[in-house]
Symmetry: C2
Subunit: 369 residues, 2 copies
């Protein structure tokens, strides 16, 4: 059997092979119960065990404090752009930092529910930098401040979340962490609510994780569908609605895999972060050292997860993609709004995958230089 290709998709994205193999092996019969996981009542003992283990492992892995509820929801980050203001914008005033395509979308959707103030907006430099938080125009009466911790399309990441208290704001911080959750530890003391679609570092599309400080629960807008009222979902242990059971099962297998992940003598999320640092460093150095490729993001704001890059000779992009695919390097096409190339280096991408990509890029540059 040939080696498995390396899959650089921005999401839905590569999953760890052992997770897929275990899911395949358990497909028709989970632990001898005579049913596959897709076929179980969400109220039964078997799925109850899967769900509680998934939440326990996620909390252990990401060190989510007890004063946060973890909700397993549906609808993706795009739905959360509406559901978060419906649940939290009690006074109709929201601050948003616009650092890329996703936070711009979040601001536009929040505007349908609240007055939105942009505390910064880097669209003028093409979303290639992050301004110093000391320069942000924070409101003193915002219900919350929304940031996207990692812009999947633009490749811009907050390597530290801002300390809003230190900046003089009392607003809770809301973080769209779809594409960097579980890629590194988060400082939960700075977060009020975080949310993210699962389809990057966690599992199948169709599962949305919401981590919310319990003190923020309650008082959802009258128009908020009951199924998306965070307080209600929290009270019912994400079982108010039938949850996306199979996606939760796969997420649980990913959490188990991540807890046992080892790298450079580390284990768990520390090991994952260390490998993510090494992968990103390797790819950005190769890009910066080349005469053919470029990444336009300011080094301090570069994402470890999503690396958009371009061929200086744009006309070679199609050839690059075709040759890369033939070499077993898949889904490297840039987002349609940006063009060019993009390599997403989520947790399931091993260092060897980035080494293979870098070797291919060098060879490509030699042949087409």
């Amino acid at each position: 059997m040939p080696p498995r290709p390396y899959n650089f998709s921005a999401g839905p994205a590569a999953l760890p092979l052992p997770v897929l193999e275990r899911a395949a092996a358990e497909m028709t019969d989970w632990h001898g119960c005579g049913m596959g996981v897709m076929e179980m009542s969400h109220r039964g003992a078997e799925f109850g065990e899967i769900m509680s283990r998934a939440e326990r492992d996620l909390r252990a892995l990401a060190e989510v404090p007890d004063d946060f509820a973890v909700l397993f929801m549906q609808g993706g980050a795009l739905a959360e752009n509406a559901l978060v203001p419906m649940n939290l914008a009690h006074h109709g005033r929201v601050d948003v930092g616009v650092s890329g395509a996703w936070s711009a979308k979040s601001a536009a959707e929040a505007q349908r529910y609240a007055e939105v103030r942009r505390v910064f907006d880097t669209s003028s430099d093409g979303f290639t930098s992050l301004p110093d938080p000391a320069t942000w125009r924070l409101s003193d009466d915002a219900d919350y401040l929304h940031l996207c911790s990692n812009e999947t399309i633009d490749g811009v990441e907050f390597h530290d979340l801002p300390d809003l208290r230190a900046l003089g704001s009392k607003a809770p911080l809301v973080v769209d962490c779809s594409s960097n959750q579980l890629s590194r530890p988060f400082d939960w003391s700075r977060i009020g609510l975080a949310f993210g679609g699962a389809q990057k570092n966690i599992g199948p599309a169709g599962l949305t994780l919401v981590y919310v400080r319990r003190s923020l629960l309650g008082g959802a807008d009258a128009a908020c569908p009951s199924a998306f009222d965070f307080a209600r979902v929290a009270r019912e242990g994400s079982m108010f609605n039938t949850p996306p059971t199979y996606a939760i099962y796969i997420a649980g297998l990913v959490f188990e895999w991540a807890l046992q992940f080892e790298y450079r003598g580390l284990r768990g999320l520390g090991a994952i972060e260390a490998q993510n640092i090494d992968k990103a460093a390797l790819l950005y150095s190769a890009i910066d050292a080349s005469g053919q490729f470029e990444n336009r993001v300011t080094p301090a704001a570069r994402s470890r997860m999503n690396v958009p890059f371009f061929l200086r000779r744009e006309e070679l992009t199609g050839i690059f993609l075709a040759e890369a695919k033939a070499a077993g390097l898949l889904q490297l096409k840039g987002h349609k709004s940006k063009g060019g190339l993009r390599a997403s280096l989520y947790n399931a991408m091993p260092l060897a995958g980035v080494e293979a990509l870098v070797a291919f890029m060098k060879d490509f540059e030699r042949r087409h230089g």
Copy 2:
């Protein structure tokens, strides 16, 4: 290997074994592309093929007319209870027929968005009958009339959808068909919009099907999250949001299986319906003929999909469930709100499964009679 147990879960529910086996075989590599289905970008050619085939097969199977859009959404029927009024209740007036626990929930949620009038309500007889449509108190100005075509908990089913035109109403008919979609042909000419969670006859929980007459699209309430605006979802081919890709893939495999299903010389949905008729007839006759078991629903309103039944000696319920499980008959426990027993006979349940259940019931009655 012992034979696979028969799984009578009300949902998430049993899936056809060949579907699960194929999903397992394709888990790490779909059709030689080097990626599993969970790992594919929803915008890529591979998933595009899976999605368009799934929609095409569903339309062929259920004979969905071209003037209906088929939406692949998230949130389940419970979310639709809010999203349907948000999308359709333009004048804030909704008629609901209350035939069981699910339509009662739909009425309660719709009331948060519109004035709700109950055109009938069978709670007074414990949801065991369906009144003649000629007796319904239809409004002349409702935005739509909502019915649940099959009450999963109460085991009550509309064997014919009402012809609202013939009853003098101009309102579109909205049908929550979560638990009987694809179990039988529907008369689409009587339907304005139908919706249902997938986790009964279609696939994994986390996928919601919405079939909506294109003429009803547009004008969603200002508070409706963009991700749940039916017109927008339709316009973007269910790709406005990242769809639940893996659940759609499994649904597609189920549609393929159903199109090829054969029974008594029939094929496709006709064959499925014929087997469903036989399964239900066999189980209800066994219940009615026994001295030990009873079903309380009026024969004309009995569901083919969900059969709630009770032991006259209630104290035997626990013993029945334990012995049934040991005999390979799983998930027969009644809904917590009703107690007793429930056998769900969705499409993936073969006639042999119902024969095994009936044989077990006879034996149980002999031993505990």
